[in-house]
Each structure stands twice: as structure tokens, then as C-alpha cells.
């Protein structure tokens, strides 16, 4: 195994990790604060990807497509919260799961009506399409580097907002005691709506960034959503720190597993057996990891306090 390949796959793992983090952060915030299980989080990811791709094709401006994708998912998120989800906060998880499952069917078909069922072609602007030289013969796509940079920047920003600002303080207070915050004169409904909107925008950001890397098609959100569940279960529900750790672990394990499990198996068992076993084992690796983590830490690695 050569080192360049290992380094390249590690960067790929990091890129998948930050992407998962953008999704997991919004989902875990919404769950931690509003106690809402939102399966439709993946739909917002899809909406972000479609909006940005569509705007980029229509206007040719990447900056505009980013703004449109972010703003669009923010608005769609707020509308969804106000129309459908607001009534569900007091319900049990079963009702929330079913209603948001209904939302997924709705959004997937809506997108299929508007843009068709086949994947649409998403491009990146000229100035982001090159490679960067990282030394020792490692050339890495610039666009993927940008994704890693944006993801890490968002993680830092989120940390700052949640721990150092007034909004973050309200969010934390709302998570620990809703009634008390409301009694102190804070409009908790509005706060919930805003948090949901920002969570949606984060999912939209993940979607619009991933558009050129993965396929933009109906149902794309569910593929990543289930990985995000694994991230959250591993990291601990409701904890941003846990979401970051879980996302990086899952991103790395999944990417490195897919790249190196087969050759590694081939050294132990026959190459033919490794050929068939390798890929199926690699695709199940993160779920096995989740089972192992749960066996030892049923509340995840970084359970949210209080």
C-alpha cells in the first residue's frame, strides 16, 4: 500500500466526515432542543442540492447558487416547521417519525415532478475545478479541499455561536428547560423556528456542496440520512461535539474501509473470497461500528449533558 493513496483516502474520509457533520449538527440540534425526530432532514439536503444546481444552470453564477441554495432551504425549513412540524413537538417519537416519513415521500415526489426522476447534472465553476499540489506526488481536487475547509469553518462558527453568543445561550437554555425560558420572556416558538431554519440551511449547505460530488436525484437525502443517524447514535444524541466526533469517525471508517478492506482481506483469505466479501463487509462496517459502540456506551461517545 503506498502512502500517497492512504493520504488521498484519508482526505476523502475527512471530506465525507465534514459533510456528515453539516447534516448531523442540524439534526442533533433539532432533536436536542425541540425533542423532534426529523426524518425529513435528508429532504432539506436534497432541496439544497436541487436549488443550487438549478440556479447555477440558470444564471451561471456560483455565488448566486450558493446564496439561493442556503436561503431557499432556510425558507423551506421554516415553512415546514410552521405548517407541519410545530404541532408534533408534544407528540411521541412514533408520530414524529411517521409524519416526517410522510414529508419525505412528499418532497421526493415534488422534486420528481419538478425536475424528473433521473439524476440531474451538477457542475462546479471553472476556478474550483483544478487540483492542488500537496507535495510528495499527492494531487487533490481543489473542490474537495474547499468542502473540507467550509465544513471545518462551519464547525468552528457553530461552536462560537452556541457557546459564546446570546442566541447560543438561549438555545442551550431552551434545551434544558423550555418552560423556564418562556417564563423569562423569551419567545420560545420563534426560537424553535429559527433553530429549525438554521438546521435546514446547514443541511442545504451539505446538499449544495455535495451536488457535484455525488448524484443529484430524488431520494438522495435518504442515502446520507441513514449514515447521519449512525453518526448521531455513535456521537450521542443532542451533542454537537458528539456529532463532530461521530461524523469524522464514520467518514474515515467508511471511506478507508471501502478503499482498503478488500486488499487487506486478500492477505488473510484467498483473493477470490476477498473480492466477494470485501465490498459487502465494507458497506456494513459503519453499522457494525455502531453496534460495538452501543454495546459499551449505550448513550453514545459524548452524551449531551442534562
Amino acid at each position: 500500500m503506498n502512502l500517497v493513496l492512504v493520504a488521498e483516502q484519508t482526505l476523502n474520509g475527512l471530506q465525507l466526515g465534514v459533510m456528515l457533520f453539516l447534516m448531523a449538527a442540524g439534526l442533533t440540534l433539532v432533536f436536542g432542543i425541540m425533542n423532534l425526530v426529523n426524518l425529513a432532514h435528508g429532504s432539506l439536503y436534497m432541496v439544497g442540492a436541487y436549488l443550487a444546481t438549478y440556479i447555477f444552470q440558470a444564471t451561471g453564477s456560483w455565488a448566486l447558487s450558493i446564496l439561493g441554495g442556503l436561503g431557499g432551504t432556510f425558507i423551506v425549513g421554516i415553512l415546514t416547521e410552521v405548517i407541519a412540524l410545530r404541532t408534533l413537538y408534544e407528540r411521541d417519537h412514533l408520530d414524529q417519525v411517521l409524519a416526517t416519513f410522510g414529508l419525505i415521500l412528499f418532497f421526493n415526489e415534488l422534486v420528481a415532478i419538478l425536475w424528473g426522476r433521473t439524476a440531474i447534472y451538477s457542475t462546479i465553476p471553472q476556478y474550483l475545478s483544478g487540483h492542488v499540489e500537496l507535495g510528495a506526488g499527492l494531487r487533490y481536487p481543489l473542490y474537495r479541499m474547499v468542502i473540507i475547509g467550509v465544513g471545518l469553518a462551519v464547525a468552528a462558527l457553530l461552536w462560537y455561536v452556541v457557546t459564546r453568543t446570546r442566541l447560543g445561550m438561549l438555545i442551550r437554555a431552551g434545551a434544558s428547560n423550555r418552560t423556564m425560558v418562556a417564563a423569562l420572556g423569551v419567545n420560545i416558538r420563534l426560537l424553535y423556528t429559527i433553530v429549525f431554519g438554521f438546521g435546514a440551511a446547514l443541511a442545504g449547505l451539505a446538499g449544495l456542496l455535495s451536488g457535484p460530488v455525488y448524484a443529484v436525484q430524488p431520494g438522495m437525502g435518504e442515502l446520507i440520512l441513514i449514515q447521519v443517524f449512525v453518526v448521531i447514535v455513535i456521537g450521542g444524541i443532542g451533542s454537537i461535539r458528539g456529532a463532530l466526533a461521530g461524523a469524522l469517525i464514520v467518514g474515515m471508517v467508511d471511506t478507508l474501509g471501502r478503499a482498503f478492506l478488500k486488499p487487506m482481506l486478500a492477505t488473510i483469505i484467498s483473493p477470490a473470497a476477498a473480492d466477494t466479501l470485501g465490498p459487502s463487509l465494507a458497506s456494513m462496517l459503519i453499522y457494525l461500528l455502531m453496534a460495538i459502540v452501543l454495546a459499551f456506551r449505550p448513550a453514545g461517545l459524548f452524551p449531551a449533558r442534562g
Partner: protein
């Protein structure tokens, strides 16, 4: 005088028994097919109802056992082992073993963790199914031959197959009813309504829950064996997470923790699907091809407004 709910159940079963002669009389074999499908999904839904409705375990991965049951039959048939006497017990056994493994890990957790974990494990099996290139991978494969019951019953005869499914449905409805009202079932329900008190009187819920989880998995495995014989086709889509969602919806729509609920829910959902797919109310572009849009809306409305499901309509006053 039996309760109205029991009467509804008997009326439903009578209607189901009357479908084959009526379908033959009106020369509409399609309905035989549709109602057989409804009954197979009723069996799957009633197994889910046992753990979700009575046990309060919100499993979002129940389609896994449908898939394992189907794959057990399909793979044996692929190797020309078509005896149903072998295939079906194997399908049930494999599903039970899998349920024991998944349950052993998942039941340690509760609430949202339980939902996400059961979903994730099923998705893992789904990807495993896709990676089985030998058995069709992503596309799935045809079932080589239907299960053979050495001349006792011929599954290629649609009517005979129909009545076999109906008989199994009746037996399983009775079985789950008995389980729920046994001592075992009372512990399951007690653990659902108040876990702390259940522990206080000296019962640990874990083994009871796991046993219920395994029973539900085994019954759903049988539904999978029926389903693959029904469609004569096998795909990883049997295990897709949307299938698990549909099963949950059937249970909720029909009325959670009721005997007739799964049957009502499966019938309502599949008839609605069938109606939307063939509806002429709106232009084809907006309905037939995109019926899931409306299904999604119905789902949301049912959750928000009809908390007690269809069986709740017949219950009379609140129990």
C-alpha cells in the same frame, strides 16, 4: 353479544373469504392478487403490531425480516431446493435468529436510539442484499419455482394460494391475540405502560421484550416467504427502509394495539395506493406517476388528526 370491533374483524374475514368466488364471477383476477397482497402485508403488520403496538418498541426496521424470509426461499429455490417444508421453516428460523441478534443490541436502548438503530441495521442488510451479485444484486432475481408442498397444496393455483394465506392470517391473528392476553403478553404491555413499576414487582423487561421481538421477526419472516411466492420475484427493495415505514404506517393507520388494526391498515393503505395509481381524477403527470406525493400528505394528516386509527372508529366510546 361480541364487541363491535370483533364483529368488524369477522365481517372483514368474511369479505376476504368471499373475494375468490366474486373475482371469478366478475372475471377480475386482479382483485384476487390485490387482496392476497393485502393479507400478506397484514401478516407482516400484525407481527409489527405485537412489538410496536403492545410492546411500545418502535422498530423502524421490520422490513428486514420480510427480506430475510424472501431471500431464504429465493436462495434455496436458486439451488433447486423447492420443498416448502424445508424453505418456510428455514425462512422463519433465519428471521428469528436475525431478530435475536438485532434485538439483543437494540433492546438495550430505548426511544429515539431504538428507532435509529433498528433502521440502521435494516439498511445494513439492504446494502448486503444489493452486494449479493450472485442473487441479482440491485436488480433482484426471479423466483425459480414456487414453494412445493408435495401435492398437498399447489401455490401455482391462485385460489388455493389465496386460501392458504387467509388460513395463515386467521391462525396468526388468533395466535397474536392469545400471546397478548397471556401472562407473557401482560408483562410486555406492563413494561410498555410503566417500566419502573414492572421492575418494582420483580420482572426484568429485557428477556420478555427480546422474546416478543424474536416472535415478531419470525412471523414477519413467514410473511416474507409468502410475499416472494406471491410476486415470484425477489429484490433488496423488500428490505428498503420505505417498506419499514409503510408497515409502521399500516399499524398506526389501522389502530395501534388492536387485533383488527393491522388488517384494516394494510387494506386501507394498499387500496389507497392502488386507487391513486389508477386514478383519473387529475392529469396523469400529477397523480398516477407521483401517487407517493399524495400518500405522503395522507400520512401527515392521519398522524396529526386521526390518533386512534381506523379501528378506533369502531371502538365506540373511549376505552
Amino acid at each position: 353479544m361480541p364487541a363491535p370491533r370483533t364483529l368488524v374483524l369477522f365481517a372483514l374475514l368474511a369479505v376476504l373469504a368471499a373475494v375468490p368466488p366474486l373475482a371469478a364471477a366478475f372475471n377480475e383476477p386482479f382483485y384476487l392478487d390485490l387482496f392476497r397482497r393485502i393479507m400478506i402485508f397484514s401478516i407482516a403488520a400484525l407481527s409489527l403490531n405485537l412489538i410496536l403496538g403492545y410492546g411500545g418498541m418502535v422498530s423502524f426496521g421490520h422490513a428486514a425480516y420480510l427480506g430475510i424470509g424472501a431471500y431464504s426461499v429465493g436462495i434455496l429455490a436458486f439451488y433447486d431446493i423447492t420443498s416448502g417444508w424445508l424453505q418456510w421453516p428455514l425462512a422463519i428460523g433465519a428471521s428469528a435468529i436475525l431478530a435475536a441478534a438485532i434485538g439483543a443490541v437494540s433492546i438495550r436502548t430505548s426511544g429515539i436510539y431504538f428507532i435509529m438503530i433498528t433502521l440502521a441495521f435494516t439498511q445494513m442488510l439492504y446494502y448486503f442484499g444489493i452486494s449479493l451479485e450472485e442473487f441479482g444484486g440491485d436488480d433482484g432475481m426471479r423466483l425459480k419455482a414456487k414453494s412445493d408442498f408435495s401435492g398437498l397444496i399447489d401455490l401455482n393455483d391462485p385460489t388455493a394460494f389465496y386460501y392458504l394465506v387467509l388460513a395463515l392470517l386467521v391462525v396468526l391473528l388468533w395466535l397474536v391475540h392469545r400471546i397478548v392476553n397471556s401472562r407473557f403478553g401482560r408483562v410486555i404491555r406492563a413494561a410498555h405502560s410503566n417500566e419502573a413499576r414492572t421492575r418494582a414487582i420483580g420482572l426484568s423487561p429485557y428477556p420478555y421484550r427480546l422474546a416478543a421481538f424474536v416472535i415478531a421477526g419470525a412471523i414477519c419472516g413467514l410473511a416474507g416467504a409468502l410475499l416472494v411466492n406471491h410476486t415470484a420475484y425477489l429484490t433488496p427493495d423488500f428490505m428498503n427502509w420505505t417498506r419499514s415505514g409503510e408497515l409502521m404506517f399500516m399499524v398506526i393507520l389501522g389502530g395501534i394495539a388492536t387485533t383488527s388494526g393491522p388488517l384494516l391498515g394494510a387494506a386501507a393503505l394498499l387500496l389507497l395506493e392502488d386507487w391513486l395509481q389508477g386514478s383519473d381524477l387529475l392529469p396523469k403527470d400529477w397523480v398516477r406517476d407521483h401517487w407517493q406525493l399524495y400518500l405522503g400528505l395522507v400520512l401527515i394528516l392521519v398522524v396529526v388528526f386521526a390518533k386512534r386509527g381506523l379501528a378506533g372508529l369502531f371502538a365506540g366510546r373511549h376505552e
